[in-house]
Each structure stands twice: as structure tokens, then as C-alpha cells.
Amino acid sequence: MKLNDMKLHRIGVIGAGTIGTGVITNIVMSGLHAVVIDQSPEALARSKAQVLENARLAPLMSKTLPRVGRDELLQRMEHTTELSAAATCDFIVENVFEEWAVKKPLYEKLDRIVPAGVCLGPNTSCIPITQIAAVTKRPELVVGIHFMNPVHLIPTAEVIRGFHTSDYAVSVLLHLFGLLGKQAVMVEDGPGFVSNRISHIFMNEAVFVLQDGVADAASVDAIFRKCFGHKMGPLETADLIGLDTVMRSLDVLYQSFQDSKYRCCPLLRKLVQAGHLGRKTGKGFYEYPDLQAAAAEQKAQAVVAQASAATA
């Protein structure tokens, strides 16, 4: 089938977290249709509201980003907790929790549900694409995508070719990227690919510097912003990603390479254990007073949901 004839319109997005929501925003602002699948109705509702907010504020970022009305955006999204909805999709982007125990059974189920010939795009930060493809019967159609946050505003993404990924699957993904206004940097498979393998050592070492009392967080980040021209320093980047996500990625890298340079800094693990995960909890290496109310509400909602489930 010629790529230009291929129907790439209904894009399945599995996982409506931060990255998933950015992917959905990109999809709907580009005129495509997002089929959003998440186990949590609360996550789906939050994601829907955030997509509308992202689109509303998009003109602030760029005059070239399209202005799409709220009603039209709502028509371009459907939300469900049923994985079976993946059967209606032309391409799948998966962004669930970065844990093999979660991803493995998900891909086994997806492989049975998604029609033959449809590509699967794991949006994973460290788990190798070849490992994911191996639990499916379509490894040649599995192509890794590593989007960067905020997805709808960053025009480039890392694209990872698994061991068996075919040129066809790469072409389909690049065609989708064309529709989304994105460019790809192609890399080969390996734990952490290029971006996270290097960036996580960078962030982790920044935490060690903090732990050793060499400088405070603001000074560490200022060195990289002001001396090197980085948009964000390593510690504020970690707060943005989520300290739990950074910690888990380091653990995956450490398990994969068995190299101590990837060992997670004790201070980072301690902050995660203390519940300080960065922006998502209103506190990480920095405090975010304007985000603390939202974080508390989310926590309260999770407690209520848990209590309801327990008494049901």
C-alpha cells in the first residue's frame, strides 16, 4: 500500500499521563483523531481537561501552531477504559507506566486486539524496543518513539529501530510524524537509547553534587542555564520529568548495563520515598506552591477512588 493512500487518522493513545496527554494534544491539533485509552477514569478526565488547556494556551508558544476551537477538539477525542478500542485504530502510541511488569502483559493483549498490519509505537524511556517487540507476533511492526515533554511543543522526537523493526514500520511512523508536524532523529535500540542514557547520568550526577553539598539546587541549575545556555538545568528537568520516573529509569539502566555509573543517587531515592516527586506533587528539588493545591486534590481523589473500590 502506498503511504499516501494509507489511512492514518484514528491514533490510539494508551496511557493518559503527562506524555500521553501531550501526544493527544499534538494529534488533535493536527486534525487527527485520538482514541484515548487508560485504566483510570480520573486520569482520562484530567487528560481531557489538560488537552483543552494546552490547545487554548498554544498560541502563546507559537504563532504557527493552529488555533482549534474547543468543540472541534472535543470531537477529535474519544476516551475509554476499554483496551478493546485499540481494535479501531490505525496506529498505536503507548505511554503507560515505565515498568516491564506493566508493559509486558499490555503488549501481549494489544497484539491480540490490534488488527494485523497496524504498527505499535512504544513510547518508552528506557525499556529496549526489541524486548517489547519480542512479546508480540509483529516485531517488524514495532517502532519505538521517545517523545519529549511538552510533546505538542517540541518538534523533534527520538525514534528507535528495534532489532526486527522493518523499513515499512519506520516509513509509517515518519508519515505520521509528517502529519503531526514532527521530525525524527533515528537511533538504534539499546537501554535508554541516546537521550535517556546520557541525560539520566547527567541528572543523577547533579543530585550527587547536591548530596555532597558542593552547591544548592538553584546554583547547579544556574551553571547549566547561564554558562551553557541550557533551557533548563538538570535538577529542574528532573522535577519536570518526575523524580520517580527518573529513579525508575536509572534502575532500568543499572539492571541493563550492570554498570555502577547508573546507580541511583541515595538522595534521589530518599526524595521519592518521602513522596516528593517534583512538579506532580508540588515539591521536588524545588517547591511549586502553585502546583501544591492541584497535587493535593489529585491525591485526595485517588484516596476516595481507592476507598470506593475497597467497599464496592
Partner: protein, 85 residues
């Protein structure tokens, strides 16, 4: 009093910006975006802060970086929208 209200809008914004960018000092007319002090994500955070703190809704036509480029610009924008001036 108008002057106190004016002062509190500016000071509220100053605290938010200084806390967000971890700057010990912030010039009132410093262009935050031109000098690379902040990135585009910050613009979204600033708009969200303004909407929540001052009870405004920023209209589509107001979503221009020039309205939020500096402490002075953001203060003038809030004053115009809330008629504190």
C-alpha cells in the same frame, strides 16, 4: 487604595516569577524570554498563575508573549484586565 492594590499585583507577580526562576533580583523591565531566563513552559505557568490568583480568564487575543514578557508587562496586563489602574 489604588496604589496599594497596584503594589500588591506587582509584588504578587514578582514573588511568583522570582520563585519560579530562582532569581535573587529581578529588574521590573527585564525581558524574561529574550534573555533566555525562562522558557515557553514558564509562559503557560505564568498565565495559569495570573488566572487563578486574579480570577481572570485570559482571552485568545491576549495570548501574546508581549503581555507577559516582563514583570512590568504582566502587571500592566493584569491591571488592564482587572481595572486596578
Amino acid at each position: 487604595m489604588a496604589i496599594q492594590e497596584n503594589g500588591s499585583v506587582k509584588e504578587s507577580l514578582r514573588r511568583f516569577i522570582q520563585h519560579s526562576v530562582q532569581l535573587p533580583q529581578l529588574a521590573d523591565d527585564e525581558d524574561l524570554f529574550a534573555t533566555g531566563i525562562v522558557n515557553s513552559l514558564f509562559a503557560v505557568q505564568l498565565v495559569t498563575f495570573i488566572e487563578k490568583t486574579f480570577g481572570l480568564e485570559v482571552d485568545a487575543e491576549d495570548l501574546e508573549i508581549r503581555n507577559f514578557r516582563s514583570l512590568n508587562a504582566a502587571t500592566a496586563f493584569v491591571e488592564k484586565k482587572t481595572q486596578y489602574a
